[in-house]
């Protein structure tokens, strides 16, 4: 093990990610000798050793901030640029990046926001961040051949009860406490947005032809789709639909849902 190199890399990591900057990070380094950082990093008349490490510290923070701004545009719009900046400052201290790709930087942002004091002014913001994160994950989610509207016609009527379908592996169904679905669309289209209203919502996020869509699900559709995702047979899914008091005609409802799922490219072979 290259011990000197390991020591150097660990020190630089601590300094670059120091919560209050390189200077404070240096003050906390008890093992540095009298020459401090100058004994490790060469400074000159243009830039001191500390200023040179500062360049990396700034790049570290701003690269992650920029990536998160890009991944969470509606969350940025709701919180405001300055507040989002402050959120990210705390967030990367609690959830420092561990993965090789910046794509994963924001995967805990929604969880972090749930307990953040800044969400007081916009308490739906954690749900909004969860939705934006899901949109990104669905965009990069696994591929699978979606069943088209014609693909189920060959199934004999007697076989229908036993068939198993599956939800496309890239799709997600989110259980949220706020009605945030409209917000990402409003921000993307540069329209004025309204704060989300409180209310339990199941939001489907799915991909069709490489584009990501999302919509709120009615309760019956959410439950039926969750049955599909659980690997239920078609007969069991129909039972879920038929068991809903607010469904007047279960056969029509099931047919309509099935047609929509197929046209959305949401189903794959089970």
């Amino acid at each position: 093990m290259p011990t000197r190199l390991k020591k150097l890399e660990s020190l630089l990591y601590r300094l670059i990610t120091a919560p209050s900057g390189v200077a404070e990070g240096l003050a906390a380094e008890r093992e540095l000798g009298a020459d401090g950082l100058d004994a490790i990093v060469r400074g000159d008349d243009r830039l001191s050793a500390q200023e040179r490490v500062d360049i990396y510290a700034n790049m570290y923070f701003y690269r992650i901030l920029d990536a998160l701004k890009e991944d969470f545009p509606a969350t940025v719009a709701v919180l405001g640029g300055d507040s989002f900046h402050n959120v990210v400052t705390g967030y990367i201290l609690e959830y420092p990046p561990t993965e090789p790709s910046l794509l994963y930087c924001g995967r805990y942002l929604a969880a972090y926001l749930r307990d953040h004091p800044l969400r007081d002014g916009a308490s739906f913001v954690a749900d909004l961040a969860q939705l934006e994160r899901a949109i990104l994950e669905v965009f990069h989610g696994p591929d699978a051949a979606a069943l088209g509207p014609d693909s189920l016609r060959a199934i004999a009527p007697t076989d229908w009860p036993a068939i198993k379908l599956a939800v496309h592996p890239s799709a997600q169904i989110l259980a949220l406490d706020w009605r945030v679905s409209e917000l990402p669309r409003a921000v993307e289209e540069n329209r004025a947005w309204k704060p989300a209203e409180r209310g339990a919502a199941k939001v489907l996020v799915w991909r069709r032809d490489a584009r990501v869509f999302h919509r709120d699900l009615e309760r019956v559709e959410a439950e039926a789709l969750e049955e599909v995702a659980r690997g239920a047979r078609f007969a069991q899914i129909c039972d879920v639909v038929a068991g809903h008091a607010d469904v007047e005609n279960p056969v029509t409802a099931m047919n309509q849902m099935l047609a929509r799922w197929l046209s959305d490219g949401l189903l794959v072979r089970g």
């Binding site: 290259p2 190199l5 040179r52 420092p96």
Partner: protein
């Protein structure tokens, strides 16, 4: 590894999201594309679909930013597995990454942090490159990074460091001309000396890019056109290394694709002119030799040719 093991792809452009549709729909005239490996190390969706489309029409090379070859953390097996799978699927002309470290202790800085130029670092990096090359079953290209700090521990120059590593690990070099210029300014060394010292037989690719001038230092931002001084350095490299695949990188304030393609064409033109000049000089020198020996003039020799 020999340079001739690799194809000469010509003059290419870094594939960026802003140009996906343009590239797929218009198939612009450019020799090849370089893709950032990590952007395609995903389960599925649009990025991989785009890469399928691009690969159907162009050669590609895969360029990574997170291998962290200089880190003292273990090499991530999952990263190598994903990289190998991506390479198997898209058959790049080669795979490259940076001579640096990007994280330690299981954490990632998402930045290219330089190494001290020491024997210890050489031994460490060489062993890791060999392991990576074994895992990928192909040679790796390592790229010199722009740097803003240098270490008191260093016992050699950057070009001695990268040359020693490339030779001992038997890997190729992706020579970033802009990075040499940026680091030369930041650390007050002679960029020409760097170009003149790198082992020619290992230089497989160039990067050309722009940078920002912050007064006391230059920052490798890839958000400006290639500066004249960097073109001059490229010309020097072209004279020394001959035909080498060149690629234009642009990562921020990305212009229309046409501007990137024009920059790649400029690299081609400069190389062409350099070769012509070199040929002319060679002929002149040969003729001078011949005149000395036979008494015939250089002009008559030119006409014969």
């Amino acid at each position: 590894m020999k340079r001739s093991d690799f194809p000469i792809l010509g003059y290419g452009v870094g594939l960026r999201r802003q140009h996906y549709s343009h590239v797929l729909e218009t198939r612009p005239k450019v020799d090849w594309f370089e893709v950032i490996s990590e952007n395609f190390m995903v389960a599925g969706g649009r990025p991989l679909e785009v890469l399928e489309g691009v690969r159907a029409n162009y050669p590609i090379a895969m360029h990574g930013v997170s291998m962290s070859i200089g880190s003292t953390d273990p090499i991530r097996r999952s990263y190598l597995r994903q990289l190998r799978e991506l390479a198997r699927r898209f058959e790049p002309a080669w795979i490259s990454d940076h001579l640096c470290w990007t994280g330690v202790g299981g954490r990632n800085l998402h930045d290219l942090i330089p190494l001290p130029y020491t024997e210890e670092a050489i031994r460490h990096v060489v062993a890791r490159i060999r392991r990576v090359q074994d895992a990928l079953a192909r040679p790796l290209l390592i790229e010199n990074v722009s740097s803003y700090m240098a270490f008191a521990d260093s016992t050699m120059t950057e070009w001695e460091f990268i040359s020693a590593i490339a030779t001992e690990a038997d890997c190729g070099i992706l020579l970033d001309i802009n990075n040499i210029f940026v680091s030369a300014f930041n650390h007050r060394f002679d960029a020409n000396e760097y170009i003149d010292a790198v082992p020619a037989e290992r230089v497989v690719q160039y990067h050309l890019a722009g940078h920002s001038d912050h007064g006391t230092y230059l920052l490798d931002t890839h958000d400006h056109p290639v500066r004249d001084e960097v073109w001059a350095l490229y010309e020097r490299a072209a004279r020394r290394f001959g035909a080498v695949s060149a690629l234009v990188e642009w990562d921020d304030h990305i212009p229309e694709f046409a501007e990137l393609a024009q920059t790649a064409e400029r690299a081609r033109t400069i190389f062409g002119a350099t070769v012509q000049t070199a040929k002319h000089e060679t002929l002149k020198n040969r003729d001078a030799d011949s005149t000395e020996k036979t008494g015939k003039s250089a002009l008559s020799a030119d006409h014969r040719a």
